[in-house]
């Protein structure tokens, strides 16, 4: 996307003049930086990028980018962004959303954006809590979670964003965690380069209302035993000593110790490009504490892209019928003349 400019764009160029208003220690800061780096890495002209958000802490994001942006209404960012993309498919359009925004009030739009495979890049900041409204249960909060709106514990099952996205036939889906800037940037760059819908879930810490919700994935002591890094083509090995693996047992997947006479050959190998999403879905069902949490790219496949098909239809119709004129349209059908 880079154009001929005298100077290369740097991270600084993508920062707007607005001071960032997230709470100290908020996980959103690292995502902001990673996205600015992603744009700089790819030398996206600032005027070619559009950030569209809904409502929530994360949705303040567009104000901090010196690109075009819409801070939309609650849950509707995917629909607004769809309009932007279809009006000008050349634009690089990012959707910034949160767990409540995307999966509760915006669940319908989230589903349909994904199944259309429209070229939007969605970054979902999942902190498992409503932060902006000061601490209510969110659709990703765990069962039993005590919050201001669930003082006796949540009685709702959480929704899992990656599973939902796979159910909607997503063509690119990944999960990362906010405190791993290197992986964050790598995945965002891949999402940006993907043709069609790319969905990235970022586990993110709310320092005020849900602090350390992801400590099992960030704590140096426990991290390696709780994370399965997904690497294309490699066997699924994890653990501090890389002594544990994931394999199929019938239709289920299970954790096995590699020193039990189990060799790496028996383990599942990650295949991002597998047409069949079944294994990716199984991976998305691995939850703490029973299973390690997969981080990385679950799925990356090629499918026809909505805006390209739309433009193809426009082009093909014009090729077949010629560019329309009002005169010929109006005069088609039964007409008569009054003298």
């Amino acid at each position: 996307m880079a154009t001929c400019t005298d100077e290369l764009l740097t991270v600084k160029d993508y920062k707007s003049d607005q001071s960032v208003r997230w709470c100290p220690g908020c996980g959103d800061f690292s995502i902001l930086t990673a996205l600015q780096k992603t744009l700089a890495q790819r030398q996206v002209p600032k005027e070619q990028a559009v950030f569209v958000s809904g409502i929530g802490c994360s949705s303040r994001f567009p104000y901090y980018m010196d690109t075009y942006g819409i801070h939309g209404i609650h849950g509707r960012a995917p629909a607004i962004a769809t309009g932007v993309k279809l009006a000008n498919p050349e634009l690089e359009v990012w959707v910034i959303t949160g767990d409540g925004d995307a999966l509760s009030i915006g669940g319908n739009h989230f589903l349909h954006m994904i199944r259309r495979n429209i070229g939007l890049k969605i970054v979902l900041f999942n902190n498992r809590i409503y932060g902006l409204t000061k601490g209510q249960v969110s659709p990703t909060s765990e069962l039993g979670k005590r919050t201001k709106s669930t003082p006796f514990g949540s009685i709702e099952n959480p929704v899992h964003a990656v599973s939902v996205a796979l159910g909607a036939e997503v063509t690119f889906v990944a999960r990362v965690i906010y405190n791993d800037p290197k992986m964050l940037q790598e995945v965002l760059e891949r999402a940006a380069a993907h043709r069609g819908t790319a969905f990235v879930e970022v586990y993110q810490d709310c320092a005020v209302y849900n602090h350390e919700a992801f400590s099992y994935l960030t704590d140096r002591q426990t991290r390696d035993d709780n994370v399965l890094y997904l690497r294309h083509g490699e066997p699924m090995v994890f653990g501090k000593n890389r002594d544990k693996g994931i394999r199929h047992n019938g239709l289920n997947i299970e954790v096995v110790m590699l020193d039990d006479g189990v060799s790496e050959d028996e383990l599942l190998r990650h295949d991002e490009h597998c047409e069949n999403p079944s294994l990716a879905f199984q991976l998305s069902r691995m939850h703490y504490p029973e299973m390690p949490t997969p981080l990385g790219v679950f799925r990356d496949v090629e499918k026809p892209v909505y805006e390209e098909m739309m433009m193809d239809q426009l082009r093909q119709t014009s090729d077949k019928l010629g560019a329309g004129t009002l005169e010929s349209l109006f005069a088609a059908g039964d007409t008569w003349t009054v003298a």
């Binding site: 509707r76 629909a79 279809l86």
Partner: protein, 624 residues
């Protein structure tokens, strides 16, 4: 109402029958939904239009998609009002009814004027069909139709006989019955057959046997009128005084689609139309999605909310962007429309109103979304609102809505209704140069760019993504005056609210003064808006011609109201606001002008009948 001015003129022709000249006639074709009544109706319409009559039509489809054949729920009708005087509505009372089966008779006969012509397909009045129509006895034999001139025509057997030589199966041959019936009516109203011949031959060019059969059936019906000694009178309706030009028929929804397209073409922009299927607005989407070689980008969204949200996004990115919906969908879009007002992006929302509240009466018309259009959002959230008065006028109002939206950088609501959307009338095709270009100047100069700096109209610049140096953010949070960044400053909020209100008030510069038909001041002014124009104007014209002290003001602009409207309202002793709701415009007018206007309302899912307005005028004026 049709025969009021009829006069017997002369006898002529081989059949030596009386010919009566009429100013205006209403006929209705009614049959089972499989009987091809819509086709017969549209053919009659075209033939009448080509003959030079003014025409207005209304199709009446069954509410059920596939009601059982022969039942009351399956009756499909098509009504045509044609005349040598200006025709504003599809007509109240039917002068001639074609009933293809007992169910059609039962459903429609109540609308037939006393003394009206009733052509029935007598073959279909079998015990089984009578039972389906819930007739205990054959109405053709009980004398219950004695108020009408009943013509019992064995349409089915006559049709089969006329097409026998084409060798078609009985099932296919029976489908020609609508053309036989049309032929009878063509003879009765002295219509030429050639237009329909041409249509049949084009339509069935690939199946010559069917084309041949339909032509034969049409001719046979016509010949029946000529030779059977059944009809004692034939009617003629002269040419109307129409503006010269080339014409075609359009339904309201077609005209709206054409208007939106034309506006985009005049602005040299792609049209983005985001919509969710809803009765009675869906045809706008259907029409537009065919027009891909005009760079029309249609998007059937996952819901009403997304449809409008996508429109806001498309407007931000520089398209002419519009949505169409009806009452419940409009309610769902209101939050998004608030965003449209706050971000000051140009969009058009077409609301094809239907009976409400809630799901209400999806297939029936009403004007009950006026408050919703003007007042239906949180906050002080002004936007321009205008309404279309007739099917063909939808074209012009759609263009106007886009013109205002881009000029004032605002969402605009265009109110149509189910009656206008489905009804049709001749539309004069605009001539070269008649459609003025829509000038759009996108901001391009990064020097000192401020996204909310207003011009003399109060509009902010339209800077679209892709323009270097103009990167900016918009959103639903209150904006700092000029600068456009987020601001919670109390006085700034008050100023911005005032600026948004003033901008919509400034639209007055593009709103013509209110015109009045009839006396400029006096006893009684009827006020109407939207689709009730035809009935109210016809009633007032008649009363005025009869010497009554009456006038009619029909509003196109509902927000802002025309500059002189208060003055107009104060020029009459009594003001009667006619609308298909419980008094929505009435309240707004009383509030805006402190006039003691009265309401005349109808909330039956049906348009006003001319006679209802006439009776009300008579009641108020005591016939003077």
């Amino acid at each position: 109402m049709s025969t009021a001015t009829s006069k017997k003129t002369k006898t002529q022709g081989t059949s030596a029958r009386q010919i009566e000249t009429l100013e205006q006639v209403v006929i209705r074709f009614a049959g089972d939904s499989g009987d091809g009544m819509q086709l017969a109706g549209t053919q009659f319409t075209t033939a009448s239009a080509v003959l030079g009559n003014d025409v207005s039509t209304f199709p009446d489809f069954p509410a059920e998609i596939r009601a059982p054949a022969g039942t009351l729920g399956g009756v499909s009708g098509f009504q045509i009002n044609f005349g040598s005087r200006p025709i504003y509505t599809p007509g109240d009372r039917v002068d001639a009814l074609v009933a293809m089966n007992p169910a059609a008779l039962k459903v429609c006969v109540k609308d037939l004027a006393p003394g009206g012509a009733l052509v029935v397909n007598s073959d279909e009045f079998t015990p089984a069909n009578l039972a389906k129509a819930k007739y205990e006895e054959n109405p053709l034999e009980t004398g219950e139709l004695s108020a009408y001139r009943v013509y019992k025509v064995p349409i089915t057997t006559q049709t089969l006989a006329s097409v026998k030589e084409t060798g078609l199966s009985q099932k296919v041959a029976e489908r020609c019955r609508n053309f036989y019936a049309l032929g009878v009516v063509y003879w009765l109203y002295d219509r030429p057959l050639d237009v329909t011949h041409r249509w049949i031959n084009t339509k069935f060019a690939k199946i010559p046997a069917v084309a041949e059969a339909n032509v034969r059936a049409l001719q046979a019906g016509y010949n029946f009128g000529e030779t059977a000694e059944m009809f004692t009178v034939r009617y003629q309706v002269g040419k109307a005084n129409l503006r010269p030009g080339r014409y075609r028929n359009l339904t309201g929804n077609q005209a709206t689609a054409f208007g939106l397209l034309a506006a985009a073409q005049l602005a040299k922009k792609p049209l983005f139309y985001g919509s969710y299927p809803i009765t009675p607005a869906s045809e706008i989407l259907h029409e537009l999605t065919l027009l891909k070689n005009f760079d029309v980008r249609t998007f059937q969204a996952e819901d009403e909310i997304a449809a409008y949200a996508a429109v806001v996004g498309a407007a931000f990115a520089g398209c002419i962007a519009a949505t169409g919906t009806s009452g419940p969908g409009m309610a769902l879009k209101q939050e998004g429309i608030g965003l449209g007002v706050m971000t000051e992006l140009p969009t058009v929302i077409v609301n094809v109103q239907r009976g409400g509240p809630s799901t209400g009466l999806p297939t029936k018309t009403e004007q009950s979304d006026l408050w919703q259009a003007i007042l239906g959002r949180n906050g002080d959230c002004p936007l321009p609102v205008l309404a279309t008065r007739s099917p063909a006028e939808c074209f012009w109002r759609a263009i106007e809505a886009v013109r205002i939206a881009v000029k004032y950088m605002t969402p605009v609501v265009l109110l149509s209704d189910g009656y206008l959307a489905q009804g049709s009338e001749p539309w004069r095709i605009p001539e070269d140069g008649e459609l003025a270009p829509i000038e759009i100047e996108h901001a391009s100069d990064p020097t000192d760019f401020a996204p909310y700096r207003r011009d003399e109209r109060g509009s902010r610049p339209w800077a679209i993504p892709g323009t270097p140096g103009l990167q900016h953010r918009v959103g639903g949070l209150e904006k700092l005056e000029e600068v456009g960044t987020v601001s919670y400053d109390p006085l700034n909020h008050e100023r911005m609210t005032e600026q948004r209100l003033r901008k919509v008030a400034n639209v007055l510069a593009d709103v013509p003064d209110q015109d009045v038909f009839g006396r400029e001041s006096g006893k009684l002014l009827l006020v109407s808006w939207g689709g009730t124009f035809g009935a109210v104007r016809t009633a007032v014209e008649r009363a005025y011609e009869a010497g009554c002290d009456v006038a009619h003001a029909h509003l196109t602009w509902l927000n802002p109201f025309p500059r002189n409207l208060g003055e107009v309202l104060r020029s009459y002793e009594r003001v009667l606001v006619c609308e298909l709701n419980a008094g929505q415009l009435l309240l707004l007018l009383r509030a805006a002008y402190l006039v003691d206007a009265e309401g005349f309302t109808k909330i039956q899912g049906k348009p006003f009948m001319i006679s209802e307005i006439t009776d009300k005028i008579d009641e108020i004026l005591g016939g003077k």
